[in-house]
Homo-oligomer: 248 residues x 2
DNA sequence: TGGATGCTTCGGCGTGCGCCGAACCATCGG
DNA sequence: CCGATGGTTCGGCGCACGCCGAAGCATCCA
């Protein structure tokens, strides 16, 4: 009775997440990667029509955002808050008393730098995106991205093409919510080109059997000089390694 | 299809919260105060039978915990994680783009010290509970509380009765999840007695038309000497006071 | 232009679940 | 012992909603 307004609305949100099919879609989107309706249908295990209905509801409630691209529609979580809410629900669902398992050393490397499909993700990628925005080479807004005039010059100097697409309709610059950092990093054609260039220059190297990227000494220098990054990029020593009971 | 296990379970949790009646109950419990089934029924606006069914489900899913007490049953949120999940859902429900409104100066005073029914809550109360536990005068575990032998002597010296109840079956020592601190503070007969004593001694004073408590200079000294609290208890200066646009 | 693919809208089926009335247990007061 | 009060269990009603088949748009490719 009291408190009705807030109660009702939280119920609506929770109710939307509280359907198995929709929950599976949202979980799939927690990776940060935008997915098409078809991919989401597959994740949810229902037909395309059903999926379409679900997506319309999630969209209407502003839990998701969409981007049309040719005959595909890319869906992603609408905001950080949504991701946090789902994360919190996962925590509860993972049966309360079980302690939040600390990330292992392998995860630490992943968190630092990794590939996300064809571009970079992790602390490094987020720092790069931040730096580019700070210098106004890039303007990121809610999934979309814009390269400024100065930005074009900068990328050109660095050896990246920012011209019109050759045969692809894929956008030049998109953002992608970073799974570990929960902040946007650079995707799209430009993001892919940046990863290629970094591999070419030997600034990062793929680690075997993992999506993790190793940042080389040359890379440390290069990223610092080019993007003005001040952090050090060594894999941090993990305090939880010292905690008894976590060793296998 | 992939990821089914996690998706399914998060859906179950969200689905439980996603009913208007249950959401209202959970919201009511976000205050930290344990409530009886009848009170929850009133908050939800449904009959007692219906409420009973809801509570059974929430209990079964470990979202709530109960404590029997005479012919009453006190329900409370089962864990911090549950409170966080509901908080996150509230944030989403409060329509994404709206920025998390910073607390005003009035709230700052409330956060520092306030009454919670008949006992104290806020930073001060949590600090007191912490101190009492540190000295092993009190042992708090998950809603229940125990006064140790040394504790009885301590409270006796301080002028608080820890003897058996006179006419009440209300427990001597209970914990109550602090709304602002999200950590337990002291409730029960002992908590109530402590507030009375603090008011008597002039250590705190009720502020007009508010549940906030003002900590007097005598209180600062007294709490420090008695409970070994080192923090200063002035209402913190608020950075957001300087932010343009928040002035009325 | 015609066919393939991705996605949405429409309509109808089935069922899960929230609701309440009534009856049933437990606890407190006298 | 008795009634009063708080809480739960049972049974049946009814709606809301998730599901799919079929049809309808939009976009890409030849």
């Amino acid at each position: 009775m009291l408190n009705m307004a807030s109660g009702n609305t939280i119920a609506e949100v929770a109710s939307l997440i509280g359907d198995a099919a929709r929950a599976n879609m949202l979980s799939a989107l927690m990776g940060g990667q935008a997915l098409t309706a078809g991919e989401l249908a597959h994740h949810a295990g229902v037909t395309a029509q059903t999926t379409s209905g679900h997506l319309a509801k999630l969209l209407d409630a502003r839990l998701l955002a969409v981007e049309k691209q040719g005959r595909h529609r890319y869906y992603r979580l609408a905001s950080l808050e949504v991701a946090q809410a789902i994360h919190a629900l996962m925590t509860v669902a993972a049966s309360g008393p079980k302690r939040h398992r600390p990330a292992g050393p392998r995860d630490a490397a992943l968190r630092l730098a990794r590939t996300c499909y064809d571009h970079m993700a992790g602390r490094l990628a987020v720092a790069i995106a931040d730096s580019l925005c700070d210098r106004d080479y890039l303007r990121l807004s809610d999934g979309a991205g814009l390269v400024t005039q100065e930005g074009r010059r900068f990328f050109c100097d660095f050896g990246l093409d920012t011209g019109p697409p050759l045969h692809s309709r894929r956008p030049l610059c998109r953002t992608c919510l970073d799974w570990s950092e929960r902040r946007p990093h650079l995707a799209g054609r430009l993001g892919a080109a940046l990863l290629d260039k970094a591999l070419d220059l030997g600034w990062v190297a793929r680690m075997p059997q993992s999506r993790a990227l190793r940042i080389t000494r040359a890379g440390e220098m290069g990223f610092a000089a080019t993007f003005g990054l001040v952090s050090d990029w060594r894999v941090p020593a993990l305090p939880q390694d010292a905690v008894p009971g976590t060793a296998p």
